[in-house]
């Protein structure tokens, strides 16, 4: 049962920020509410003030240019990202990820910023953004700051927002040439939260095909979206073959901090990290080679 709260619907970012600076910890932002309302209905969260930012249309945009890369407003819906031709062309992995995120109805109303700020380690966007080296722009009345997506999640459902801050933009740099990125997750049914998932980005040097750079990030494998740095180091500086990908998967499965849940034991989920890192890495590699 949802408890009563006081409701505000600011129409501008400035208005939202001044309400946040006034109410701080007692206020919570709702965007699409596709995660927040579930948590509130479960009685896990009761709050004094709810700031409904869904109507701030200035934060609903997708912009791209080759130099600056991609800029996504925090209140852009999942469906808009999935359907964006710019994103399908330049960041295919994002639109593929969105197609398996929950259901069409949820994607129609839920926002990318809301998803990230919910801080669920099983969320799909965060690991993909980590693999893409994305950054987040956070705003408060005092000004703006920019942080790496991998620095944003602090613990289960906890993110690095100060009480007077809100997320306003996701910034994704244009990947270097010969880069491939893929995301794979284990689902019982399409659209489910991943039992585990892996986002992998691989950059090859054009001449010799050596792996110049690699990023591996896991979903639902720790209390935060987890960057598997040791697994990345298995690949960087080498000519990648299938044995190396299997090795990267194994190392990632050790880096993961897995627990049992209704879908499987920790052992099973560890095996699946191996499988899904390798699967995503294979696709990333193919894409990097094809470029």
């Amino acid at each position: 049962m949802i408890k009563d709260f006081e409701y505000f619907a600011p129409k501008t970012v400035e208005e939202a920020l001044s309400l946040l600076s006034q109410y701080k910890e007692e206020a919570k932002i709702i965007a699409g509410g596709q995660s927040l309302l579930v948590v509130m209905r479960q009685g896990l969260l009761a709050l004094e003030y709810l700031l409904d930012v869904k109507g701030i249309s200035a934060l609903d945009y997708i912009n791209y240019d080759d130099g600056d890369g991609l800029r996504i407003g925090a209140l852009t819906t999942h469906r808009a990202i999935e359907k964006s031709l710019i994103i399908q062309r330049h960041f295919k992995v994002l639109s593929e990820m969105e197609r398996n995120l929950a259901t069409v109805q949820t994607r129609n109303w839920g926002t990318i910023g809301g998803n990230l700020c919910h801080g669920d380690p099983a969320g799909d966007p965060a690991p993909v953004f980590i693999a893409l080296k994305a950054k987040l722009k956070l705003a408060s009345l005092g000004g703006e700051r920019i942080i790496d997506v991998e620095e944003f999640s602090k613990d289960y459902l906890e993110v690095a927002l100060e009480p007077d801050e809100m997320l306003v933009e996701i910034q994704v740099p244009t990947p270097p040439p010969h880069t491939g990125t893929a995301y794979e997750k284990l689902m019982v049914m399409k659209g489910d939260m991943g039992i585990v998932g892996a986002a992998v980005s691989i950059t090859l040097s054009p001449g010799d095909g050596v792996c110049q750079d690699a990023r591996i990030a896991l979903s639902n494998a720790a209390s935060v979206p987890l960057r598997a740095g040791e697994a990345e180091r298995q690949l960087i500086g080498k000519v990648i073959n299938d044995d190396l990908l299997a090795k990267a998967g194994e190392v990632a499965s050790v880096e993961a901090d897995l627990t049992a849940d209704v879908h499987g034991s920790a052992e099973y989920r560890r095996e699946m990290v191996k499988v899904f890192v390798r699967r995503a890495a294979r696709r990333a590699l193919e894409e990097a080679r094809a470029e």
Partner: protein, 161 residues
């Protein structure tokens, strides 16, 4: 003040409403309990089943996972707004004629998902229909007849038989 009523102005099935609403009210509860539009079903209340699907500004959404106040300024369509008076919508006709109804509980949500799809994309592929219709769970028989019914409805709406 906590729980203080807030003004909600929106349209439902083309009719304009101005109401005072408790902020914690979910859209599905407002539709069913206040407006007595009980065609929209409340299923799981965890955003999983799709029985509460309505259309806001042309997009299918789950009314159990939206605050009523978030519909402020928007156009909501429920199952009650789909037929034209006594004349059923081609999607409803196709569901009936093709036997795509079992117990019926998930049917309103499915019709709304199908309508949002066909309004946006009048000639979807079978794969596109499957992608949308899997967002509405059925506890009885399943999915094949629903998918076929949407294909039939698409043809009807294109002026075919």
């Amino acid at each position: 003040m906590k729980g203080e009523l807030k003004e909600l102005k929106f349209t439902v099935n083309g009719e304009a409403y101005e109401l005072k609403v408790k902020p914690k009210t979910l859209l599905v509860d407002l539709l069913r309990k206040e407006l007595k539009l009980t065609g929209t079903k409340q299923g799981c209340l965890t955003s999983a089943c799709g029985a509460c699907t309505v259309i806001i500004d042309g997009k299918a959404v789950k009314s159990c996972s939206i605050l009523a106040l978030q519909a402020n300024g928007h156009e909501v369509t429920t199952i009650e707004g789909v037929a034209d008076g006594d004349k059923l919508h081609p999607i409803q006709e196709a569901f009936i004629e093709h036997g795509a109804v079992e117990c019926g509980f998930c049917t309103p949500g499915r019709v709304m998902s199908a309508k949002a799809l066909l309004d946006e994309n009048p000639t979807p592929t079978r794969e596109e229909i499957r992608e949308v219709m899997q967002s509405n769970l059925c506890a009885d028989e399943g999915y094949v007849k629903y998918i076929e019914a949407v294909e039939i409805a698409a043809k009807k709406m294109q002026g075919g038989s």
